[in-house]
């Protein structure tokens, strides 16, 4: 039976994992590869590395992260941020990434999805969508790009369907309304997208309680759940999330993990 996936997300800046709000007050959370190996041992099903600065200058450090990860970590991982061309994508896959996440570049150049999924297979092209509910509307969300700074006016559900039609293999769906709130995933948004596409959907943004992870799978049909700061800063462990989901009858890959585990997240948080 295919299991639902729990995916830690590692936001990266200058080759380090960071946590911050709107790119300010970035808190150093450690070395991405060390953290990745820790999450593998903790039972994570996959990993996502996102270069939050998403600039061309940052790509050498992300290529280095991808290459080092392929030598130390034996679960699949996605790299996203700053890639704009087929050449960028090829370089990252050659470095060892299993999948590439495209966000702004996919909106600006949808042909990139088609082109690269034909060459490398749709399984390695993930389209990341940052969606925000249209003020006053009940069930309408718009797609934002450039780290949430530009409203494209695109309907998020329609864009998800189009991305799938163009060849995307998965959708990484982030609710900007819920991100960082700990109020839970945006269930109506997630449900609207999972109903519209036949490719897997990874729900992101808003998880704060264990209940939220089970809820988005059961009520909104998410195929995978993403979590970042709740994991890095010790609110839960991956196994807590998995045990909770399994307790709700959700098929999960359960692995034996150490009772005591020390996260390599830097104990003295540095504010940049």
């Amino acid at each position: 039976m295919l299991t639902k996936r729990v995916i830690p997300c590692l936001d990266c800046h200058e080759g380090r994992v960071v946590k911050g709000v709107n790119f300010v007050d970035l808190v150093d959370a450690g070395d991405p590869v060390e953290l990745a190996a820790f999450y593998d041992a903790e039972g994570a099903d996959e990993l996502v590395f996102l270069d939050i600065t998403a600039s061309h200058e940052e790509r050498p450090s992300m290529l280095d992260v991808a290459a080092r990860t392929s030598e130390e970590v034996f679960i699949p991982y996605t790299v996203g941020g700053g890639m704009r061309s087929a050449a960028d994508i090829r370089a990252m896959l050659s470095a060892g990434a299993d999948k590439i996440s495209l966000n702004s570049a996919a909106v600006r150049d949808p042909e990139l999805i088609t082109h690269t999924s034909r060459i490398y297979g749709s399984q390695c092209i993930v389209v990341a969508i940052d969606a925000r509910r249209v003020a006053g509307s009940v069930e309408r969300w718009e797609v934002f790009i450039n780290g949430g700074r530009i409203n494209t006016g695109l309907d998020a559900v329609e864009w998800a369907r189009r991305a799938a039609d163009l060849g995307a293999g998965e959708v990484l769906l982030t609710s900007m309304d819920r991100d960082g709130t700990n109020e839970g995933f945006d269930l109506p948004l997630t449900r609207a997208v999972t109903r519209e596409v036949t490719i897997p959907v990874i729900a992101s943004g808003g998880a704060g309680e264990l209940e939220h992870f089970a809820e988005v799978v059961i009520e909104a049909d998410a195929d995978a759940v993403l979590a970042a700061s709740t994991l890095h800063f010790g609110r839960f462990r991956v196994r807590d999330i998995k045990a909770h989901m399994a307790g709700h009858g959700i098929p999960i890959r359960l692995v034996e993990v150490a009772e005591e585990a020390r996260s390599p997240v830097t104990s003295e948080w540095r504010v940049r």
Partner: protein
């Protein structure tokens, strides 16, 4: 054991995806003497052969033929050299692949490579449980119903079901692992992406190579 007698495993590079994680996976599993090569001569001298691969069936078959590795694989498998096909490296064992046309495969495991049935999300991505229709040394020490990481849209349908040593469910019951003869194995999932369980399987293959070297 001296380097001259240590068993060697060749991972075949035929330009179908990154092989570093497969090589590193063997290393982490404690298997020594694993090299990546695109040379038929070098692969021919190895005690074990690994055929990984991600991508299209047609391109893979073409690259294997162009490089002379096609004959090498067929010869070594016929001679009883331990072999492990991974993902596309399993699908290529079919007589024929039906991805974007109809393409001749290696024919090491008779049968066809077909697309997963409609009605499920394709590609099949994620961790799926594997059950064992019969025992195989490849799964030694790995519990039945263990989960492995899959990423694929096509699957090998062996004409002789008795070769199936691992099966999984995704819209249909399909061959997740096969064994032909004593030492030719192939898996649809990615052991190098299946965490500790996958590394255990790579270790098993390393042991099989050692025993037969």
């Amino acid at each position: 054991m001296s380097p001259a007698t240590a068993p060697r495993i060749a991972i075949i590079d035929y330009r179908m995806g990154n092989l570093r994680s497969v090589q590193k996976g063997f290393e982490h599993a404690g298997v020594e003497g694993v090299t990546v090569t695109d040379s038929p001569a070098e692969a021919s001298a190895a005690d074990g052969i690994v055929l990984p691969g991600v991508g299209a069936f047609r391109d893979a078959a073409y690259n294997l033929r162009e490089s002379g590795l096609w004959e090498l694989v067929c010869e070594r498998v016929a001679a009883g050299t331990p072999f492990l096909g991974i993902c596309l490296g399993m699908q290529l064992l079919a007589d024929v692949g039906l991805e974007d046309g109809e393409w001749e495969g290696l024919g090491i495991v008779g049968g066809r490579c077909e697309r997963l049935p409609a009605g499920v999300k394709i590609p099949h991505i994620g961790w799926n449980t594997v059950s064992y229709p019969r025992t195989s040394p490849l799964f030694d020490g790995i519990d039945e119903q263990s989960t492995f990481y899959f990423v694929h849209s096509y699957h090998l349908m062996p004409s002789d079901p008795s070769v199936i040593i691992g099966s999984a469910e995704y819209g249909v019951t399909f061959a997740a692992a096969v064994q032909a003869g004593e030492a030719a194995f192939a898996v649809q999932f990615h052991p190098e992406k299946s965490s500790a369980t996958g590394l255990h399987l790579l270790g098993n293959f390393g042991r099989i190579v050692k025993e037969r070297a």
